[in-house]
Symmetry: C2
Subunit: 350 residues, 2 copies
């Protein structure tokens, strides 16, 4: 068993109070006593018991981060930034993988297993706004992504409609007319996919092109394999219409870089040249997209800022007396990064 503050006090011949002061610097201590106490601490290898401290303080110094899956590059990168940012604020992060399970998300919010976290950053997959009411006023929550919090929690996200519009417009500007989309998730009320689809259609219509339903490919997950499958469907004429001459797309806007990389994989496998025969745009700016061949043109959200802002929101709430702040709805900047998959920065497209 490890030694307690009392043990140290005993050994140093002072009161627990004084030891506490030495440890936390909460009140001045005579240099001489200080040294004696420090010595006792070192000898006993004393380490404060955080459970006791938390119990006393009513705060644990731990925040939760809930994401669908850690092995997804985008979430991994974001998690890394959030962990760093949290450390800067002396918070520890516990990670939960929800695996896109609505119940798992709900359970986190209601704190089923008991209170451990001072706050929660969640990137919801299938969460309904109403689920938030359960936690309202109890656990400070920040949502990442498109779910509408209904004023019950802070939200940090990019403008997905505008971003998707830009991505699609970029393809149109490079002279593509048969632009497909990969990544819709009609079975979920997943806001993010809906927003990106909206931006995609808006850009097409502005260019006088009517979106074809068959060229909006749904996926069940956002992995490379899903992108590969969707691309195969498109090339197999999954999107062709009778009397259409079996036309296939000359461009694809994938709702994530992983999907884009999967699409690229299929293109390579089928001998479709990228960008000559098919231009591809992704979303997220994950590192794989910078080193693929060709590099993936992508919408790059400012992830650093997402992390920083999310934790700022949380801090405001955690340290606010009664958690009665109005809900923030923060939009983080993004930019389009043009790479080889759409012909590269300087090039006209083909």
């Amino acid at each position: 068993m490890s030694s307690s503050l009392k043990d140290v006090a005993l050994r140093a011949g002072v009161s627990p109070r004084t030891v506490s002061n030495v440890v936390n610097g909460s009140a001045p201590v005579a240099e001489q006593t200080r040294l004696r106490v420090q010595e006792a601490i070192d000898e006993l290898g004393y380490r404060p018991n955080l459970a006791a401290r938390s119990l006393r303080a009513g705060r644990t110094g731990i925040i939760g981060l809930a994401i669908p899956e850690l092995h997804s590059p985008y979430f991994a990168e974001l998690a890394g930034l959030l962990v760093d940012e949290a450390r800067r604020r002396s918070w520890t992060v516990i990670i939960d993988q929800t695996s896109g399970d609505p119940d798992a998300e709900r359970r986190l919010l209601t704190g089923d297993g008991g209170r451990v976290m001072d706050g929660l950053v969640i990137s919801p997959w299938a969460l309904e706004a109403q689920d938030l009411t359960a936690t309202a006023g109890t656990l400070p929550v920040v949502l990442l992504g498109e779910r509408s919090p209904g004023g019950l929690a802070d939200r940090v996200a990019v403008d997905n409609v505008a971003a998707a519009d830009e991505a699609t417009t970029h393809l149109l500007e490079r002279g593509r007319r048969r632009v497909a989309a990969i990544g819709l998730q009609p079975h979920l009320e997943n806001g993010t996919a809906q927003q990106r689809a909206a931006g995609y259609r808006r850009a097409l219509r502005r260019a006088g092109i009517e979106p074809r339903a068959a060229w909006e490919r749904p996926v069940t997950a956002l992995h490379r394999s899903d992108g590969a499958r969707a691309m195969a469907e498109l090339l197999d004429g999954g999107g062709s219409v009778i009397g259409d001459g079996g036309a296939v797309p000359d461009a694809v806007f994938a709702f994530s870089d992983e999907l884009a990389l999967g699409a690229l994989h299929t293109a390579h496998a089928r001998g479709v040249r990228v960008p000559e025969d098919l231009a591809i745009v992704g979303f997220d700016d994950i590192e794989d997209g910078r080193f693929s061949h060709p590099g993936i043109t992508t919408v790059s959200p400012d992830k650093q800022q997402i992390a920083a802002r999310a934790l700022q929101c949380l801090a405001d709430r955690v340290y606010s007396p009664r958690n009665t702040l109005p809900a923030h709805d923060l939009t983080v900047p993004h930019r389009l990064i043009v790479r080889g998959s759409t012909g590269g920065p300087g090039d006209g497209g083909r």
Copy 2:
């Protein structure tokens, strides 16, 4: 403020003891009382305070996972598996990124900030065996990777020498003779890189080839950019010797898939054909390597088993009365997965 067990007891007209029994099922409770208590719990929205419970129990139910960086696909994937495995054991995982900082690693082991974790799984970067003595007998620790624990902690790893030998031998079997290596870390006492280098040299010598120092390229980190740079050096004749005719390698064994992908990137950029002009083998079997063009031949460690075994070790220690078990040293299986970067499964190589 949220309500406590006492509040529930008061409301239900029973003693705290009974409420505790209902919550934990630690002792039988009359059905009627049970219902009354449950009702009170629901009405008050009672959630047990884990800090208090931890204080009482002397255990927190939290384990730490320390890895160099979360945004690295290998670590992200491993972290995901560990988190899942931990949940299966009703543990929560806190994640620390050490960023390859020896002090950060040391601080974790000594529990500088105080005791929170019941145990620690650490993938050390620059840790010395002696650092483990500080924590010996205090915090149960499992090491992932090649650092020798000196009997002070459990260790779970693949046989890196054998694996590197297999990878290199595979290249030799495909007819390559000028096999370079990327990923040495001479500035660190990093065991993993040393082991892989040893396996690489062993395979070469067995084939009657003397390793060239100039073809063993060091890196400072294990990212794609490092692999790209090292590959460029090799192609620029960084490894050529006077009178050597400026020969460049016809194969590369990269100590990680990320490095391999970087090398592949450079090859593409320079117009070097893979696998015709240059064969590439990586290590880790990350998803990007399955979808790159061509796919990366790689050594695939059984990550699922790493996660499962690491947590089994930890559990044994955490729940053992005095943490006096002998240190385990577990070797996890691996296998070579042949893909396009070395000519594919069936092919002879070119």
